[in-house]
C-alpha cells in the first residue's frame, strides 16, 4: 500500500509504532512487578490502527481513544510518562490517580476526550464534539475508535445515527480485532464486514487492512477529508487481530492456535519495517538510531513516573464539582451575530420534498424530487 509520505514522516510513523510496542512491553513488565494497578490492556498486533488513523489528523482535530489506542495518544502528543503514571496510579498522572489506563482528557491543549469502560458511549460524545466544532466555525474533525464488540451497543447506533442525520464531521474507526473478550466477532455481529453497518446510516465507509500502516493512514486521510468537507460521518473498518488476551490476566486460550499463527505472520511492525526497507525510506543506521532513541526516552520517562508519589488520600474528596476552578469559554471562529436574533430567525416549518410512498422521490406532483 502506498501513502504519500516524506522520508521524515515515514520514519516518524515507525517511531510511534515501535514506541507503542516498547511502551506496552514495559507496562507488561511493570504489571508483573505489581507496579501497575488494575487491568492492563494491550494493543499488541493492532498498533497500526491507532497510529495510522491518528496521524491523518490536523493539529486542531479531536480524538477520543478507546482502551487499545494508546498509540493514538502518543501521536497526539501524550507523553509515555503520562501513561505510565496513569497505570501506576501516581499523583503526577493527568488524572492524579483518580482514573487509570488511558482514561484521560486534555480539552484545552491536545483536544483529547476521555473514554469510559462502557463501550459505545464515545460515539455520541464525539458526535457532540463534531457538532460543536461546526457550530463554533472550527474546521475540525472528531475521531474515535470502537471494537467489533462495541458495535453491538445501543450507544453506537444512537451516536452514528445522530451523527449521520446531523452530517457531523466524525470519523469512527471500527477496529475489528476478531475478539470481544472471549467472544468471536461472528457471535457479536452477523456480518463479515462491519463496514456494512454504515449502510444503515446512509454514510460512507471503507475497509482497510489494519495491519498495513500506510494503508490505514491513506484510508483515514480520505475519510477525514470527506468528513471535514461537510459530507457527514465516515466509518472505517480496520481488520486486525488482538494478539494478546483481553487483559494481562487472560491467556486467550480460546483463540485457535492456527489463527494466532496466521496473524503473527501479519505483524504490523514487521510489515512496516519491510515496507520502509522496500521503499528505501530508511537504512540500518536510521533504524538503529530510532530504536536507541526510543529505549533512551522510555528509560527517562519511567524514571519520571517512578519519581511521582502516590496521591495524598484526601485528594479522593476533591473535585467532584467544578466550583469555579475552570473558566469555560467557547472559542468562536465565526460571527456570533449569525446565531443571534434577528439574523438567526427562521420560518419554523419543515420542507418535505419526498412524501415517502413506495415510488421513490415523488410527492404527488408527478415531478421527481430530491429524496
Amino acid at each position: 500500500m502506498t501513502a504519500s509520505l516524506t522520508r521524515e514522516q515515514a520514519q516518524e510513523l515507525y517511531y510511534y509504532l515501535r514506541l507503542t510496542r516498547s511502551l506496552e512491553e514495559m507496562l507488561a513488565r511493570l504489571f508483573r512487578q505489581n507496579q501497575v494497578f488494575g487491568g492492563l490492556y494491550s494493543s499488541l498486533g493492532q498498533e497500526a490502527v491507532s497510529i495510522g488513523a491518528a496521524y491523518a489528523l490536523e493539529p486542531g482535530d479531536w480524538i477520543a481513544p478507546m482502551i487499545r489506542n494508546i498509540g493514538a495518544l502518543l501521536v497526539r502528543g501524550i507523553k509515555p510518562r503520562e501513561l505510565l503514571m496513569q497505570l501506576m496510579a501516581r499523583e503526577g498522572s493527568p488524572t492524579h490517580g483518580k482514573d487509570g489506563t488511558c482514561h484521560l482528557a486534555d480539552l484545552s491543549g491536545r483536544h483529547i476526550v476521555a473514554p469510559i469502560s462502557m463501550l459505545g458511549d464515545l460515539i455520541p460524545v464525539m458526535t457532540g464534539v463534531a457538532m460543536a466544532g461546526r457550530y463554533l466555525g472550527h474546521k475540525i474533525v472528531a475521531m474515535t475508535w470502537i471494537g467489533d464488540g462495541g458495535t453491538s451497543t445501543g450507544a453506537f447506533h444512537e451516536g452514528l445515527n445522530l451523527a449521520a442525520v446531523q452530517k457531523a464531521p466524525l470519523v469512527v474507526v471500527v477496529e475489528n480485532n476478531q475478539w470481544a473478550y472471549s467472544t468471536p466477532v461472528g457471535r457479536q455481529v452477523p456480518l463479515r464486514d462491519l463496514a456494512e453497518r454504515a449502510r444503515a446510516y446512509g454514510i460512507s465507509s471503507h475497509i482497510v487492512d489494519g495491519n498495513d500502516l500506510p494503508a490505514v493512514l491513506d484510508t483515514t486521510r480520505k475519510a477525514v477529508r470527506t468528513a471535514r468537507e461537510g459530507n457527514g460521518p465516515v466509518l472505517i473498518e480496520a481488520k486486525t487481530m488482538r494478539m494478546a488476551g483481553h487483559a494481562q490476566h487472560d491467556p486467550a486460550a480460546y483463540v485457535p492456535r492456527t489463527m494466532t499463527d496466521y496473524w503473527k505472520s501479519q505483524d504490523p511492525l514487521h510489515r512496516y519495517q519491510d515496507y520502509l526497507t522496500a521503499q528505501r525510506l530508511w537504512d540500518a543506521d536510521a533504524k538503529a538510531a530510532l530504536d536507541a532513541r526510543i529505549e533512551r526516552e522510555l528509560a527517562a520517562e519511567l524514571a519520571l513516573a517512578e519519581a511521582s508519589p502516590f496521591p495524598p488520600p484526601e485528594l479522593a474528596e476533591q473535585g467532584v464539582y467544578c466550583q469555579g476552578c475552570h473558566q469555560i469559554e467557547a472559542r468562536w471562529q465565526r460571527p456570533i451575530d449569525e446565531l443571534m436574533p434577528p439574523k438567526s430567525s427562521v420560518r419554523a416549518e419543515w420542507v418535505v420534498e419526498d412524501f415517502g410512498s413506495v415510488e421513490a422521490g415523488t410527492n404527488g406532483t408527478g415531478k421527481k424530487v430530491r429524496s
Binding site: I116, P124, V125, L162, C322, V346, W350
Partner: protein
Amino acid sequence: MAQVTYLEAIRQALAEEMERDPAVLLLGQDIGVYGGAFQATAGLLERFGWERVVDTPISETAIVGAAVGMSYLGLRPVAEMQFMDFVACAFNSITNYAAKSHYLWGAPAPIVIRGPSGGGVHGGPFHSSNPEMYFAHTPGLKVVCPATAYDAKGLLKSAIRDNNPVLFFEHKFLYRRIKEDLPEGEYTVPLGQAIIRRPGRDLTIVTYAAMVHASLEAAERLAQENIEAEVLDLRTLAPLDRATIFESVGRTSKLLVVHEDTRTGGIAGEIAALVTESLFDQLDGPIRRVTSLDTPVPFSPPLEEHFRPNAERIAAAARELANY
C-alpha cells in the same frame, strides 16, 4: 407585571439565556417546529434558528452524549427529555460519563438535562415518575426540583450557567396550574438554597416540587386547628441545603418529610439520617415521612390518587406528629 405560568417561566429562562449567551443551545425531541411536547420551547426555533434548536432522533443516550461533547468545546447545551421517565434511557451517559467527567479528568461538562416529571395527570407508569433520586445519589450531578414559576425561571438560569451537569426536574402538574407575577428584570435563584414557604412553630415539613403546594394546603388546614406547620421547600436535592433544614428543625423540634417520589431510597431517608446525626437531642418526636407508595405509578385515577401523597394525608401525619 404579567401573570406567568410555571411553563412560561421555563420558556422565558431558555429564551433569555439564549439571548444572553450564544453558547447556549437546545437539543431534544420535537422541540423545534413543534415547540416541545408541552410547548416549553415554543417559538424558540423561529427566533434562534436551526443550529440552536436541534430536533434530534429518539435517542436519549445520543442526546446526552452529544450534549457532553458540545460542552467540552465551551457550549452550554440544554437537553430536553420529552418526559423525565425517559432519562432512564440515558442513564449510563449521565451517571458514568457526565457525572464523573470533572472528578476523574478535570473536564467540566456544563449541561442541563430538563423535562417534565411527576404525576397527578394520569399519565400512567411511564409518563409520571419522579426519577430524581437516581441522580441525587450520583456524585457530580446537581438535581433541581422547582416548585414555583419564580423558582423555575431563576433556577433554570442558574442551572444553565453552572459548570456542572444539572438534572432539572420540572413538575408537569404545575406547568399550567400555577402562575405568579415575575420581576421584569433579570434575576436568578442560586442552586443549593432552600426557602421557608410558610413559617411555623410546631413542626417542620420539608418537601419540594408539587408537594410544596400540597404541604401548604395541609398547613392551612392545620392552622385552623391551631397547629402551625413550617413548610420548607428544598428547591434543589443536590446540593442539599442542610443548614436551612437544621435551622428550622432546631426551632420546631419536629420533622415531617414529604415527597412524591416513592418511599424507599427517597430523599426523606437521607434527611432523616442527617437530622438524627446532628440534631438528635433537639427532636421532640419521631421523624415521619409521607411519600408515594413503593410501587410503579399506577394509571387509573383512583389507583394513582391512592399512590400519591395529598394534603389530607400530609395534614394527618403532621397533626399526629404535632400532638406527639
